[in-house]
Amino acid sequence: MELFIQQLTNGLAIGSIYALIALGYTMVYGVMKLINFAHGDLFSIGAYLGLTFLISFGLVDKVGAPVAILIIMLMVMGLVGLIGILLERVAYRPLRKADRLAAVVSALGASIFFSNSLMLIYGAKFRVYPHNLLPKSYITILELHIPVVRILLLLVSFILMACLYLFVQKTKTGTAIRAAAIDQGAARLMGINVNKIISIVFFIGPALGGAAGIMVGLYYGQVNFLMGWLYGLKAFIAAVIGGIGNIPGAMLGGLILGVIESLGAAYISFAWKDAIAFFVLIVILIVRPTGILGERVAEKV
């Protein structure tokens, strides 16, 4: 039981990270019908920017770790969001009318550009996050000791996701995003500036990915320029499991994947952890080709 609960909470924590990244894939796909393959690298950029800010301004000494982390996280989100907007302008917008394959190649090119830039700037070795920032304590529930960090991570992810959900469901811009995802032409006939919507989506998705990056850095204590590849892939799987293009689906898919992976690592084999993710993907796609919450999208792809 102890092992189960530990793995479950750990799975939820890592799953919420997958969910945050998956939201970027799914929102961009929703509006553009395009997989932003450079999204995982935006996550890495978030992790590295977080590292730089944490060690260079001395903000932690001035305002204390919690406030410093909060400020830095917001800065990282803003910056990675701006990089996302730039990415869309440079790599995708000129190809809007071109063949779908052109955009895929452009996405892969952007991904290589980002990861190599990180390697040139920060080096190819693992870099270590400052490790004295987060509480090392545990809270005890029914004799189970759960690390406070894990709960914080879950909490922050859920707050971010709740904000996004409210934004998309309740605001005028959020409704316009949903409309553009359903029918771009009709959305334009409503007077919605779809280019602006695309920029907003390319800000929000990468901003959430950047937040996930700094959270992974803090949780695991180290970052690497290639980390975005595996996280990106897992999050993409999570988005497909939940139903690509569907926002609650990405959240659900991330959590499911995190939990199954974590339980699988404990009860089946740690070495098979990544294979389990693909196994889950294959099973879900056989049972429900559109993903758990997805609608039929096959004809759009």
Partner: protein, 234 residues
């Protein structure tokens, strides 16, 4: 109010409109008739800015709008109810209507138009929380028109509102269009249902494979032998 001059539109290498001229005066209902593939939808989509002309100009008042972005054209007061309704099916009726008013800043104006729209289509008021995709075809057409009106347009472009509706519904939709026009909205109506359209409209144009072949008063067109033969079944 709206003036289309020598309009050419291409899809890739294929020319769909070969130099169209038409005009709509303030307060009128003008209809464009034509068979499948004549270029009716192409004309409306170009006016709304979703397609860009290869040549020619479109004036709305004094403003040349053919190079403007679609969202700016809506802001000027041109709304379109597109062919096939294209309601946002996974959004609620109310959300669809809110989106129609996307360019309207004034909340009390939105409220006022919403009341009017619910007066025109009481059925929509009952179903405001329902997903648009669960409405019947006729209700979806009502929603599409209502959504267009929410933009508070000076001119409403309607693309085949009678498509796929039972005759009795067509009648009711057409009388609503008359009511909309009488409250001050100019209407440009694309139709294949020539009989009903000519009964409703003040003037009409007949489009054939990308060219205007006939135009004039609706009453005159109804009795025109060529129109009778091609569009009114002899």
């Amino acid at each position: 109010m709206l003036k289309v001059e020598n309009l050419y539109v291409n899809y890739g290498n294929v020319e769909a409109l070969h130099g169209i001229n038409l005009e709509v005066q303030e307060g009128e209902i003008v209809t464009i008739l034509g068979a499948n593939g004549a270029g009716k939808s192409t004309t409306l989509l170009t006016i709304s800015g979703l397609l860009k002309p290869a040549r020619g100009q479109i004036f709305f008042g004094d403003i040349e709008i053919s190079k403007l972005e679609a969202h700016d054209i809506v802001k000027l007061g041109i709304a379109q109810v597109p062919e096939g309704r294209r309601v946002f099916s996974t959004l609620t009726v109310q959300e669809n209507l809110n989106l129609g008013a996307f360019t309207v800043e004034n909340d009390s104006k939105i409220k006022q138009v919403l009341d009017w729209v619910f007066h025109l289509f009481p059925r929509l008021k009952e179903r405001r929380q329902q997903l648009a995709g669960t409405l019947s075809g006729g209700e979806q057409q009502m929603l599409a028109i209502a959504r267009g009106l929410m933009a508070n347009p000076k001119i409403l472009l309607l693309d085949e509102p009678s498509l796929g509706l039972a005759p009795i519904l067509v009648k009711s939709i057409f009388s609503t269009i008359r009511e909309i026009n009488q409250s001050g909205v100019t209407v440009l109506l694309v139709e294949q249902n020539a009989r009903s359209a000519l009964k409703l409209a003040h003037r009409g144009y007949v489009l054939e494979v990308g060219r205007i072949v006939l135009s004039g008063d609706a009453k005159k067109l109804v009795s025109d032998p060529a129109v009778r033969k091609a569009y009114l079944g002899g």
